[in-house]
Symmetry: C2
Subunit: 366 residues, 2 copies
């Protein structure tokens, strides 16, 4: 049925009507006072969301991967040692970008669905007697597996060691608690099509005072991503390059909705939706990729019941119920399916998803 | 008056209603057949617009400057000699990005409003006996001055010399004739908020077979911009990173409108609007920055009459008539004002602009 399509993938997520309406407005000039005011309110919104007063926040016209590249290119120099904590495709990507920019990257990798073992991390850093590991990259919530690292504890270990910490918070910011100042996160990135409830097209980056120190010494080439250019423009309440005016206006609307709901309520909602979805899926006899203690509040990865192909499952959700769910990625492709429950998702959507899931598997069995 | 604002700046340009309506639709999943079909029709649209069968076309979620960086990072290696033809801010930016990536850049610069002298270019390349100039960058239509280089002739000279030619066609593609195959343009970039009639947020890049040869040898780091990643995904009818789904859908709608109008008609319309605007402005006694023979079909830069400040002029257009026009940039700031007449602009808009311009200057004089 036309226009009934519903996205339960880990981004793009459903978008609220009032945000969509913003997108349909004529773009305004980006060098106007009117736009500057909207833009600066989004910067304030970002700081509110990341609970930071100390870090700068920038908006890039780019996907999340663009912001990852920005994080790397702005703090590293070729030859620098990097430890990448890899719990899935996106954690690996962070390390690969660092490699691309000439860093010596070691990847600490776990099995799909698992998270970083804090003891292993401590041991790994303990072995780095000469403090050669300059930067650690970590994924908070891994989009590919639905596992979430204990970011607060990882940050404490990394900061104790003295390395700079780059955090992929693409599917956690706006869904899970991220305390940039308190946890001393140095560079944090995120993307618009997730907890921010707008379509894909913008990414966000936070830069701590310590990250600025690294930036001063960084020798990787950058122009479009250059923190300095963005900071200089931000001081003039604008952007160095033509921004996605429409999306920035939509983001302002989205922040208004989020602030009305309240940050703690947003975090509690995502936690509640995750808990209910996981319990309901288990009641249906489905096996989940992650353990409860490691579960992301944004995405749940599910094994297919014996005999069911991922392709048939996705097709049943789509054809019979107009719901789009995601396949696995990379080595998990056709081995799991993923349900996104981040952003503009309510308790009603989760109950609906559970009912549909039951009917999908009843039909596939028959 | 609310919602009456009208943009006559060189991007963002006015956006057609049917494109805005596309933006207000719920985003669809980017890994779906439905999206792949839309995406591939946009790729075909790009090829149609650039009159190319030989070049690949990619879509980046980024501003035009992002595509400039992509052009540089994908074909150059540190130390390479680059000749940048600079007729304004954006031509200079192209050279600066090449410098950032370690190239030895020489800039051939002309006075504001002027274009590249073909004889000077021929002489410059003639002096390069050992063919050390690997790459030449050029701006087709310079957004900052409203001057347009003779791209066809520049291309012939550069190709005869054997250098790779990178073209900034941000404000020319979709407004002026750009023949990628016939003129042998190697890398051509453009942006969505110009002739494409959608808001800022996407940029476009064309890659010729010869540019691919350079790409194979390029040692500049790139990940988000990497031609190879985009090509590999394009072969699977998709994108390597989450695209701006909403904007790609809007672009499809925009291409439908453009194809209905016809490419030659679009080019003729822009030429007609430019000619009429320039004639009308001169009739009002205004002095233009560029000579008629060098004029871009997309932007006209105008000197203020004696005694009028650019700030007062822009303010009069905005406050009395709800029209946004642009200031000069860089050294031209507060010395000229610019009227954009590209994209979704009709003869009616030009007549309206001329009437308003007359009234603005009558009032400022009194």
């Amino acid at each position: 049925m036309q226009d009934k399509s519903f996205l339960m993938i880990p981004g793009p997520t459903p978008v609220p009507e009032s945000v969509l309406v913003e997108l349909a407005r004529h773009p305004i000039g980006h060098r106007s006072k009117e736009f500057s005011d909207i833009f600066m309110s989004c910067i304030e919104g970002l700081k509110w969301l990341g609970k930071t007063k100390n870090s700068d926040a920038f908006i890039y016209t780019a996907s999340g991967t663009g912001a990852m590249e920005a994080a790397i290119a702005n703090v590293l120099s070729p030859g620098d040692k990097v430890l990448s904590l890899v719990i899935g495709v996106f954690g690996k990507r962070f390390g690969q970008i660092a490699q691309t920019f000439g860093a010596q990257v070691e990847m600490l990798t776990v099995d799909p669905g698992k998270v970083i073992d804090l003891k292993v991390l401590e041991q790994k850093l303990h072995e780095d007697k000469n403090k050669e590991i300059k930067v650690v990259t970590v994924t908070h919530s891994e989009t590919a597996t639905g596992a979430a690292n204990d970011l607060e504890k990882i940050a404490r270990i990394v900061k104790n060691h003295g390395s700079l910490l780059l955090v992929d918070a693409v599917t956690s910011l706006g869904c899970m608690n991220v305390e940039i100042d308190k946890w001393e996160l140095d560079v944090v990135i995120s993307g618009s099509q997730k907890g921010f409830m707008i379509p894909p097209g913008l990414s966000f980056i936070y830069v701590s005072p310590k990250a600025w120190e690294y930036n001063k010494k960084s020798k990787c080439p950058k122009f479009y991503w250059d923190f300095e250019k963005h900071k200089k423009s931000l001081d003039e309440q604008t952007t160095p390059f033509t921004p996605n005016v429409s999306f920035v206006c939509a983001l302002k609307k989205s922040f208004e909705m989020m602030q009305k709901e309240g940050l703690e309520n947003i975090i509690q909602r995502h936690d509640r939706l995750k808990t209910r979805l996981r319990a309901g899926l288990k009641e249906l006899g489905l096996k989940l990729l992650t353990e409860d203690k490691d579960a992301s509040a944004a995405i749940t990865a599910i094994y297919p019941p014996d005999g069911a192909s991922i392709s048939d499952i996705r097709s049943a959700y789509k054809k019979d119920w107009d719901i789009t769910i995601a396949n696995g990625q990379d080595t998990l492709k056709d081995k799991i399916f993923r349900i996104g429950h981040l952003g503009f998702i309510s308790d009603r959507d989760i109950e609906m998803t559970l009912v549909v899931t039951e009917k999908v598997f009843e039909k596939l069995k028959s």
